[in-house]
């Protein structure tokens, strides 16, 4: 059997082999016992006849033997059935009527030597023998040699082997059928047991699938004792995996942030050089910008790449938008832009808070940048989605321009300066959450961004 074959099949096969062996052994043992029992019954009957014959045989002074009465009671009265008796004296021989003229050749049988008679016994028990009788019929013999009035007399009584084998066969047939039914029932029980016994594995598989789908953080601990160590190992592995991921993200972030300070130094130095008339500084400053974009882009990617599939996280919309609005209000404090948010309380998106901040922050920041007087954010709940609409009131870029900039595969370098290039990361994050981002002209002439993100608390469609 291959090591990776089905566990159920292994258990079933093992149990089947055991059951078959057990049943076969049981059949053999029971058959043996039954045989002895039936044989015993027959022997007892034959021995009764032997004893009867021994008690009725009379020996005449001349050595002739004779029976005192008839010994042909049933079943010894029917000819040709194998129930025979015969008494041999030194001079003559008496035999059952059923035998007719056929004399069983007793002397030709391989008779076992008589066991030494126990001293306290008056007569040794008759000895058994098997052999063919008249007409080749298989017979069972009981033979007793004794001395009556000093004359050696041999009494032979036979029964057909069929008298033993017939009932035995009948009993064994019934027994065999019962054992077959028993075996089948046992196999069925084992099949059922294997199914039931392995059901926790099925449940475990389901739980792991849920972990993979992001609906659970760990596999639940309530498992059968045999599976629990496996589950706790699995959970440890998940935890370690999450920790490794977190560490990898932290490393990327540290690398990015570590690069930014020297980059900032370079930027400031170039700008100082520019004032001193260094003529390449503008070009170099652009390079610094480009490097920064690359770093930010890949930092965002590192965060986003860690996200695969739906998440358990929830972000309540109203406080997150309020926080971002407050931040942007301060960042753009000098421009007096009014921010109005209309978000139903209790509405939440199935999004990591940091990712939502990144998505909504970039969109709102863009709106603030292009707005003349006011930015509005409205949210409504749909069946599976939350629709967040962000509007500004100044035509900055046309929806077509924005859509072009956000086309997948659009190279970062081509992103228009001044236009928040964080939007390409926004697009990637929205895609990862299975959401959508649409651009249209707002009623006031500005840009309306419609963001759809999965609603929290709704089972994601597989």
């Amino acid at each position: 059997m291959k090591a990776d074959a089905s566990l159920g099949r292994r258990l079933l096969l093992g149990a089947s082999v055991f059951i078959v062996v057990a049943l076969v052994v049981a059949t053999i043992v029971i058959g043996f016992v039954l045989h002895r029992f039936v044989q015993g019954q027959i022997d007892q009957r034959l021995d009764t006849q032997v004893a009867f014959l021994a008690s009725t045989v009379k020996v005449a002074p001349a050595g002739e033997i004779a029976l005192d009465g008839s010994a042909d009671g049933p079943p010894f009265d029917r000819p040709g059935r194998g129930w025979y008796w015969q008494v041999s004296g030194p001079r003559n021989m008496l035999r059952s009527r059923a035998l007719g003229d056929d004399v069983p050749d007793v002397s030709g049988l391989p008779l076992p030597p008589p066991p030494p008679p126990p001293p306290h016994r008056t007569a040794p028990p008759p000895r058994p023998a098997d052999g063919p009788g008249p007409g080749g019929q298989a017979l069972h013999y009981r033979i007793l040699r004794l001395a009556i009035d000093g004359m050696p007399v041999e009494i032979v009584v036979t029964a057909p082997r069929a008298a033993v084998l017939g009932p035995l066969r009948e009993a064994m047939t019934t027994l065999g059928l019962s054992l077959l039914v028993l075996g089948a029932a046992l196999l069925l029980a084992i099949l059922l047991q294997v199914r039931l016994g392995l059901r926790p594995l099925d449940r475990l598989r389901g739980a792991i699938a849920e972990v993979r789908a992001g609906r659970r953080a760990t596999v639940p601990d309530e498992q059968p004792a045999e599976v629990r160590p496996l589950v706790s190992e699995l959970n440890e592995l998940l935890k370690q995996n999450a920790a490794n991921l977190e560490r990898a993200r932290a490393h990327v972030a540290n690398l990015a942030h570590g690069l930014k300070t020297p980059l900032a130094t370079l930027g400031v130095a170039l700008s100082a050089g520019g004032r001193d008339g260094y003529r390449y500084s503008a070009k170099l400053a652009d390079l610094v910008d480009l490097m920064e974009r690359r770093i930010r882009h890949h930092l965002g990617r590192a965060r986003a790449a860690a996200l695969a599939g739906p998440t358990r996280a929830q972000t309540p919309l109203a406080p997150a938008i309020a926080d971002l609005g407050a931040v942007l209000g301060k960042v753009h404090a000098g421009r007096g832009i009014a921010f109005e948010a209309d978000i139903p309380a209790g509405l939440a998106v199935a999004c990591e808070p940091q990712d939502f901040d990144e998505i909504a922050g970039n969109l709102l920041d863009n709106a603030f940048k292009w707005s003349a007087t006011a930015v509005t954010a409205r949210a409504v709940a749909e069946a599976r989605w939350v629709l967040l609409q962000i509007e500004d009131d100044e035509p900055g870029l046309s929806p077509e321009q924005v859509a072009h900039l956000l086309k997948p595969g659009q190279r970062l370098d081509e992103t228009a300066p001044g236009f928040g290039f964080g939007l390409s990361i926004t697009r990637e994050l929205v895609d990862l959450y299975g959401g959508s981002l649409d651009f249209a002209s707002a009623a006031g002439g500005g840009l309306r961004v419609s963001l759809r993100l999965p609603k929290a608390g709704v089972e994601p469609t597989p």
């Binding site: 570590g258 930027g267 490097m291 971002l324 931040v327 301060k330 940091q354 901040d357 922050g361 970039n362």
Partner: protein, 222 residues
């Protein structure tokens, strides 16, 4: 205008300080959170530039400590951490503005000027006091519509008075705002600077309030 720059990267701090001084700002540098917090607690600054990842005490902790102690000093966070969540956290800790590295030094200067202007209660960049006008966004003074040429110290004194026009500015405050931590006050005493300013913008524009300090005013003295 005096800036507290809390930044642990020495070359960057030096370059920023140089760029700010070129714009007539007085700049003190603190290289770690502990020094920064102490300097912000004990000296008068118009604005602070605060890095978040600082040795000894993190920037956010410094900021919270200042705010808890009731210090209203405008703070601009200058950090490599550019996530929106970090921005929200920074503002919740009490920041007034946020700039991520790398940045254009012009952007930093513009934002610092705007912060100081707003913190002194001026909604628009243009501040006028009599014949003198000041563009808080570009840092340019004009007298009767013509550019006014000022030395760094003169600029600092006049800016400080301009942002608080018609209000008496304490001598001590003025001294603190004008001189950088390590520069002595003896060579260019405040009186000398004020006297030079009076020659440039008119005797009556700066009024001496005995025992207290100076006031920039549009009212013509009787």
């Amino acid at each position: 205008m005096k800036v507290l720059l809390v930044e642990d990267d020495a070359p960057l701090a030096e370059l920023i300080a140089r760029a700010l001084r070129a714009e007539n700002f007085a700049v003190d540098i603190a290289a770690d959170g502990l020094d920064g917090q102490h300097m912000g607690d004990t000296e008068a600054y118009d604005v602070a530039v605060l890095d978040l990842g600082l040795p000894k005490v993190p920037g956010a902790t410094v900021l919270r400590a200042w705010r808890k102690a009731g210090r209203q000093l405008p703070v601009l966070i200058l950090t490599a951490r550019d996530g929106w969540t970090e921005k929200v956290d920074g503002f919740k800790a009490g920041a007034d503005d946020y700039l991520t590295k790398p940045f254009r030094v012009e952007e930093l200067i513009m934002r610092l000027r705007a912060l100081v202007r707003r913190s002194t209660g001026h909604a628009t960049p243009r501040i006028v006091c009599g014949a003198v006008s000041f563009d808080a966004q570009t840092g340019v003074f004009e007298l009767d519509g013509l550019p006014l040429r000022l030395t760094a110290l003169e600029w600092r004194v006049l800016e400080c008075l301009m942002l608080r026009k018609e209000v008496v500015v304490e001598r001590g405050d003025l001294t603190e705002k004008v001189y950088q931590g390590d520069v002595g006050t003896d060579s260019n005493s405040l009186e000398v600077i004020v006297a030079r300013l009076r020659r440039k913008i008119g005797r009556d524009a700066i009024e001496t309030v005995r025992g207290r300090g100076y006031r920039l005013t549009a009212a013509v003295a009787p």
